[in-house]
């Protein structure tokens, strides 16, 4: 297998989870950028990844940057259009509310509720305890419910 083939296989394996994780943390614009950056670093350092057990987690950390923030404004026009036409029930305040959560709480809540990750998978990504993930999930969801409204199905707010 050539270098390029091996890398392509790696990207195939890693990208779906990595992209979701970074979009959960940084939103769809910076998250995608972070994913490309992290994968381009992986291209330069394929040797480093050989023995890594959990490459998604490793590359997730590579993609971290203190200068990235979860997207609030301006929301790209194309995303606004998608939301308004295809997903009109998403409150406009949801994205700002997500940006106000801590990085970890937001990552947990978007990966679990949005992308359907299991709590154990998120725990492995963030290298924290599953009980911490559960805690973040509940707190963040409660907080978002307070800020956005909407019931939890039992009529309670």
């Amino acid at each position: 297998m050539t270098d390029g083939d091996a890398f392509e296989a790696l990207v195939e394996r890693v990208k779906p989870g990595l992209l979701q994780a970074l979009v959960a943390t940084y939103g769809p614009v910076d998250g995608r950028e972070a994913c490309v950056d992290a994968l381009s670093w992986a291209w330069e350092h394929q040797d480093r990844l050989v023995d890594v057990e959990h490459p998604v987690g490793y590359l997730y950390r590579v993609g971290q940057s203190a200068t990235r923030r979860f997207l609030t404004k301006p929301v790209p026009a194309r995303l606004v259009e998608i939301l308004e036409t295809r997903f009109p029930e998403v409150e406009p305040q949801l994205m700002p509310a997500l940006s106000r959560l801590s990085v970890q709480q937001r990552t947990v809540v978007v990966l679990v509720h949005g992308y359907g990750w299991r709590q154990a998978e998120v725990a492995r990504l963030l290298e924290i305890n599953p009980s911490t993930v559960r805690d973040y999930l509940h707190r963040a969801t409660d907080r978002l419910r307070d800020e956005i409204g909407g019931s939890d199905g039992d009529g309670r707010r």
Binding site: E33, S65, R86, L94, Y115
Partner: protein, 395 residues
């Protein structure tokens, strides 16, 4: 009734999936070769250094080139210089240090610490309370500072995202400088930030040490701290006499960030600040009035939710109970809302005085405090957290 938030999040991510253009291998390789632009110029810059140089020692080429190399030979001290025109160090933003992937991605702990040192402090206070973190041999006791944080975004205090303008005139000009010589020996302190008294003017240790002058942070860039690391540091700060403080104005900290608060800071924060300091006529009186109010009216406790963002501040001002994370963060936001440049410092109190000029510092000594700018005198620490004497002029 609005759709439940869980379902809204699911739909939001579906919208993201439609919006986000898939990432292809060609694009990744093109960026790797430096032929495609990236949205994060700081990241790309340091990555270019990786491509150009490759060797571990120059991996953070941006940082190494820009920041005065500190020490190298044990025992050789390098003059770092102080802020202002005579300084030979350059103002490397911590944002560049933080965002460049180092020889290995920083451990989860050090990555978390660099993202928000104020938040990371809590685990030292709780999980490591009785663990000896480091020992300082010093000519005088002091708060040992890890970093200063200039940017508040409504959720966290952190390192500024863009380089800061330095103050125009050197601080402490013509004043007596109080010097503290330290030997810091690491025992159980993790992360990459080296504690030292304010303000560092000389430091030596090993090749991986860098000084980020605008955040006044001494940082290991090649690896995390390990037990046995020793750093020799000289710090100096102007001795501020009471009458100088009382007479000082507070208008020229250099960068406007020190007055910035996000638009969505809750109204009670500013209102409370004005109320408490209504009688003060000078910046120093204002700083002291606010400090005294917190010390008198609030209770210290670790049994509160961590956090120092907008909603945490509202709860804090209402319930009047918390620990230094909330005291320092809230004090700084309140001072900024009053138009007085203030920032948050994170580090440790002086620890246990073991005699013989030796201070043992434990997790429970982890601490945060505000620093207020006074023209001609620099950043002066205050102590709003109850139960502590003030570290400097506040006394």
């Amino acid at each position: 009734m609005a759709m439940d938030v869980v379902e809204q999040i699911r739909q939001l991510t579906a919208a993201f999936d439609e919006f986000v253009v898939d990432v292809g291998v060609d694009e990744v390789i093109a960026r790797g070769e430096g032929t495609a632009p990236t949205g994060d110029p700081g990241w790309n810059q340091s990555r270019r250094e990786v491509i150009d140089n490759g060797s571990p020692r120059t991996r953070l080429g941006l940082v190494a080139a820009a920041v005065l190399l500190v020490g190298g030979l044990v025992g050789a001290l390098t003059w770092i210089g102080r802020g202002g025109s005579d300084s030979t160090d350059s103002t490397t933003p911590m944002a560049d240090v933080v965002e460049s992937p180092a020889t290995t991605p920083a451990s989860d702990g050090s990555a978390a610490e660099l993202a928000s040192p104020l938040t990371a402090m809590r685990s030292r206070l709780t999980n490591q309370a009785d663990t000896e973190l480091f020992v300082v041999q010093a000519t005088a006791g002091s708060y040992w500072r890890l970093a200063t944080l200039a940017e508040f975004d409504g959720t966290t205090w952190g390192f500024p995202q863009t380089p800061l303008t330095q103050p125009g005139s050197p601080i402490g000009d013509g004043r007596d400088l109080e010097e503290i010589r330290q030997e810091v020996r690491i025992v159980n302190l993790g992360g990459t930030l080296v504690p030292a008294a304010a303000d560092v003017i000389q430091a030596s240790g090993d090749d991986g040490l860098r000084w980020a002058s605008e955040s006044q942070t001494l940082v290991k860039i090649d690896r995390d701290l390990v037990a046995g690391d020793v750093f020799e540091i000289v710090s100096a700060s102007p001795r501020s006499e009471l009458e100088d403080l009382q007479a000082a104005t507070s208008t020229e900290p250099g960068d406007p960030i020190y007055l910035e608060v996000p638009d969505d800071v809750p109204a009670p924060v500013g209102e409370q600040a004005r109320q408490v300091t209504a009688g003060a006529t000078t910046p120093f009186e204002t700083a002291r009035a606010l400090q005294g109010w917190f010390q008198r009216e609030f209770t210290y406790s670790l049994e509160v939710q961590p956090g120092h963002g907008n909603s945490a501040m509202e709860s804090f001002l209402r319930d009047r109970i918390g620990y230094s994370e909330q005291f320092a963060g809230t004090y700084a936001v309140m001072m900024r809302s009053l138009g007085i440049p203030t920032r948050v410092a994170v580090g440790f109190t002086s620890g246990v005085d073991e005699g013989d000029q030796s201070y043992a510092v434990f997790g429970k000594n982890a601490h945060a405090w505000p620093e207020v700018w006074f023209d001609g005198l620099g950043w002066v620490p205050f102590e709003p957290t109850p139960g502590r004497g003030a570290p400097g002029a506040g006394n």
